[in-house]
Symmetry: D2
Subunit: 295 residues, 4 copies
């Protein structure tokens, strides 16, 4: 097990993911825009690299987990990006949620530089990143996927193969987030109606969680709706809006009318204007309540 | 076990439900608007009653499973309705999906006649009615619920107690159907987008069914979306529209804005106008496809 | 000019309408639920009638202008309603905004009693009722319309003939109000966007009022949007909601999907829940602003 | 009157606009991507320029009227774009409907090159371009606007001054088109409901055109709705969609929820998928009819 692994992007998801790779026994180097966030993992044994290019030079496989298209593009094509590295790495596993368009572009750029580009966005909130129980949507070159799998397994319990085209894993991730947010909207309208009719969200969650809607997604969000703990966001509302806009762009290109997606953006935008950009994205349910006269 | 049970309404749901009661060993009488539909169950040992009043006269507990508010009202308050029966029964278990308003009215009317009125709408399609694996949302007088439970258990695997007010079980059932239809809309937008992006519904169903969306509701509807078998409807689209309108009426009364409910009604109505009233209600997904240019 | 005219319903619209009939020289009797509101017009020469039946008994033509279906039904069919009058009048002109369904029912009931029933809802706010410059949508029996015209002309500058079926004037009125509210929503979204882009509503109103949108409806509502004087309502928001619900009922019956109508109801309902039921109905524009982060 | 005028973009709007300038007595040169479209105006006395740069070199004021952001950008910054011209012109009047973002960018680029950039989008369909009765939304440097006015007056009857920032005229134009399309949607829902209720669109158009909705915009679109002559499009549906998307982008940036704008895009997109991209944009009304079961 001597594949040298590099990890870029030590945020609330990235740091625990990197730590699980380290625990798995892989030699690990890390890079982050601000070095402070790396101090704990360096103590745990990771090496520091001062730029993406430097990281690439000392690794076989690099993983990136950053917050948006611009950040990913910067660490790839920026002045000290991985494509500018003297020594070529073999695989870049991009685990960020980005636009399918960027995935297509980066796949091409990496190929021109002799690097395999895999798209491997994850579903799961920070708790699950820590537990190593994320689920991964994986797409790209078959051979590279084989090499990447043991590393990905340190972070996840399920890896779903979405084919050879990295952009399709990106699209799938965006649709996955749309599905989640669509269900939150559905739950929020139903729960608000029930509360006004005298049935608590707790009761509804208990019934539905033990019948038709006994799925991980409901078990994650019913408790948040019950406690109305929207402020302690695992996934920030403004990032949710970012993802829905990326998906809207795909829907525009593909000419797919998505009325629910429009409604979700309306609620996310209004929530932003109410100063809730750092709340959990499920806070759209709070707006549903307020428009119905509940506090 | 000598509670004499009566059953009214031998449709695609009611008949297998009644048969399961009979199999359970309860002495059973039946009534249906058209007698033909009762022939099989009469052969199996059920007694025939020619009117709801006659049925009431020979039973302790009556169950009704009819298609809408008007039909339920007729068998209760009509000229030969159960309230006109000479001998009083003790419990009426209404398992139809009706308006909370009617439930309130009927609860009062039954009480005035010394009869306990329970609301016990079910979730599950005809296959599950046959298998005796329905789920029941039960509300009403505690003592009556206790008496009713062994009978209900012949038809179901889970009974959820929603309190003392029959109308709350009715409201819960309407919200349950809204949740289902909301998810169908969400799935249909996502699946259409994915298909245009090169990912089949089968693939999406496989991934989601094994991850976030591993719930009975998805396992019921993903296969229909995959096969696009909307014509062989378990639950007719026009009945779905009826339920959404009942819920809209509740939302209007309670002043709850439900934008997704509006969108669902728009799609159901348009589907009606395209001649799909007898398709399964999941056929709103077909309209999503068509508006996106897929056949 | 000796047609004896009766007027029922002396609200903010009805009172000035009745006064204009009186000024026109018609002998006038009046009825109102609370007599106080009639004091000024009685001083001006109108006779008082203590019930609708009494009013009917002393008049040839009766006009009603009340706030909803229930109120209209009461003055027609109630214990001292006009149908219970000893002496039969010849024409009842209903100028209220009510459901087409009620119009159909009342047309039939009046016919059975030998009375012609005309539907004549108006468009115009209280200022125009005072000025006698309302516009009237008239439908019903031709002969009766001819008799009614000189009376209606005292209140209005334009009378539009919508045929023989009273319910069609009712439907037209509901659609007229939908058109107005649809434009308010359109204007409110555009004006909010422009304001955030640095262009004032005053500027937009000036440009549009002198170009494409130079119509009475815009000249009425642009100033309200400019001044944001939503509190001083000519037409209360809760009455607007009532009308949109009546129209929704028609759309449901006729199976017409009206997505904009749904959106309008969502905004009206949310405004109700924010305590704005007595604001002018154009206050939906205030919600548009607030959801965009403007105060 | 010896300002030498250049005109770029001889489409269905541009050609008649250019002809009106020529008729006004201004010396005119023209450029178009395909020369054939220029043949008639060259016969009428205009000079031909083979590139935007060549056109710029022989003119004082250049007007452009092209179909989208990319085309405008090309004639400005492309290899033979006007910024590459040897001799500097003084004013560029951009009359196309483009994004406010591009207007901002181009304003800056022109300024760096010593050229005044005016934004002057028009409202009016080809008939009015021919008649010289367009309305213009003008923004930019005051001095340049003064110079441009006599030229613009050859094409228009009203010029509205929207200030010093060219991008604000662009934004206003997008909102203007949104207003038009919003009204078309409103009219289409009302007209469909009325038709199902037995009142023809002709009747509605007659009543409304003589009352509340007596404005140019309604007099343009009511006849199209009456005749359902959507195929003979003055303004193509795909261009309408382009404009609504540009506006959506502005709304996203400014965080303005615009639910009606979403609905309009849904209908435009679905119409595109039904093969109606070349129909008049009012063809969204056809979809409203079809979803209501009318042909």
């Amino acid at each position: 097990m001597d594949i040298k692994v590099g990890f870029m992007g030590l945020g609330s998801m990235g740091l625990p993911m990197a730590q699980n790779i380290l625990k798995g026994g892989f030699p690990l180097s890390v890079y982050n825009r601000t070095k402070e966030k790396a101090s704990s993992i360096i103590e745990q044994g990771a090496k520091w690299a001062s730029t993406p290019a430097a990281l690439a030079a000392q690794c076989d496989v690099i993983i990136s987990m950053v917050s948006n298209d611009a950040a990913l593009n910067e660490i790839v094509e920026g002045p000290s990006g991985i494509l500018s590295s003297s020594k070529k790495l073999s695989i870049h596993i991009s685990m960020s949620t980005v636009s399918p368009e960027l995935s297509d572009t980066l796949e091409k750029k990496h190929k021109e530089n002799g690097i395999a580009y895999l798209s491997a966005p994850v579903t799961g909130r920070p708790e699950r990143a820590q537990a190593g129980t994320l689920w991964i949507f994986l797409a790209g070159d078959s051979h590279a996927k084989k090499t990447a799998t043991p590393i990905l397994e340190e972070m996840s319990t399920k890896i779903f193969d979405l084919g050879e085209k990295p952009s399709q894993a990106s699209l799938f991730k965006l649709c996955n987030n749309f599905m989640i947010l669509g269900l939150i909207e559905t739950m929020s309208e139903a729960a608000t109606m029930l509360e006004k009719g005298g049935i608590s969200t707790e009761k509804a969650a208990e019934v539905w969680g033990n019948s038709l809607f006994d799925a991980p997604i409901f078990h994650t969000y019913f408790p948040i709706l019950c406690k109305r703990s929207y402020k302690e966001g695992g996934f920030a509302l403004n990032l949710g809006l970012k993802d829905m806009r990326l998906l809207q762009h795909c829907a525009d290109q593909a000419q797919v009318p998505m009325p629910l997606l429009s409604e979700l953006q309306t609620k996310l935008l209004a929530s932003m204007n109410l100063g809730r950009e750092k709340y959990d994205w499920s806070a759209i349910a709070l707006l549903t309540r307020e428009l119905a006269g509940l506090s």
